[in-house]
Symmetry: C2
Subunit: 169 residues, 2 copies
DNA sequence: ACCTTGAGTTGCTTCATGCAACCCACTACT
DNA sequence: AGTAGTGGGTTGCATGAAGCAACTCAAGGT
């Protein structure tokens, strides 16, 4: 036994960072989690189906599902009695992750899909295979990163203990 | 020594899954990696600055930067001789991750920012604080997940060994 | 002859993942 | 009645990853 106790070294949490990117990652940033959400958006609901499609370890899947339920991304609802069995359904909060998954998919289609996109999206409204283009919520122009300047919002807090740092967003 | 060798249990790679979401996560899905990219998009370039802003362990930061360089998201370029020092700059591939980070930020602003968005985006073209809205690349209508049907693309491959499974995207 | 700076590397400790085996509540067959 | 099957997990163990502090290395400054 040493006089000084060793600090418990668990993975750093992003939850307290004053940044919505970091806080989102706290919810869906772990290994496997985004793929679970992807499959849920695709219609998967049951433990066994997640497990079979993903090839994820059962204990890890159980832990991730619990966590997503706790964070309000999924709800666990019974789908039969005798024996009682549950399935996992997306909440509105979970369904809203569609944008994140779509952005990831499009980046992957462009940069890490040597054989072309494995899946394409058919827009039923116009009947074409399409991609998502981000436009300005106010003027409708296509958004280009260079034309956007980050400014402080109501939840702003400087990084670190003092105020000597700039914002991160 | 046992007759059967224990399998090396490293974290499952997503690289071989026929899905652009999974392949993207292979590049930017690890703990800390998206925050490094966020800061890089914000203008951070040097090891010490990443380290100080993120509070990440130095060995982990070094490993992540190496990985991002290897995957072509960053390039390592000297910024001075005597002694030679390098900085990390985003490539086009890296800059294109802006969409993913923006989607994460907007989700976080909506669902996990009790005090409101820490950072807002000012669109210099129209002068307003705005958000990104995904619209159809063909018809320009706002995209709603229910109106999009996933179809097979050129890179399609069924999950698993046989063809008995359906696509994942 | 030291102290400082930027950028890592090394050692060691604990956490997270992967894997296989096991458990439990029932239902269905024989 | 006894046994096998099914869906949904839990338990134990081995190894990779994350956190932390200390150390290195090549200059430059004083």
């Amino acid at each position: 036994m040493q006089p000084t106790t060793l600090a418990a070294v668990r993975r750093t949490s992003f939850a307290d960072m004053p940044c919505s990117v970091a806080r989102s990652l706290e919810v869906v940033g772990e290994w496997w989690t985004p793929l679970i959400v992807r499959d849920a958006l695709f219609g998967v609901r049951r433990f066994e189906e997640f497990q079979a499609r993903l090839g994820i370890a059962r204990n890890v899947l159980a832990q991730r599902l619990d966590q997503l339920v706790e964070e309000g991304v999924l709800v666990r609802v019974p789908y039969q009695e005798r024996p009682v069995r549950h399935e996992y359904r997306l909440t509105d909060k979970g369904r809203d992750l569609w944008h994140v998954l779509t952005a990831l998919r499009q980046w992957g289609d462009r940069w890490v899909a040597p054989d072309g996109p494995p899946v394409r999206l058919l827009h039923e409204r116009c009947g074409r295979t399409v991609t998502a283009v981000p436009v300005c919520s106010h003027c409708g122009e296509e958004l280009r990163p260079q034309e956007l300047r980050p400014t402080r919002g109501p939840g702003f807090r400087p990084i670190g203990v003092g105020d000597e740092h700039i914002a991160t967003g």
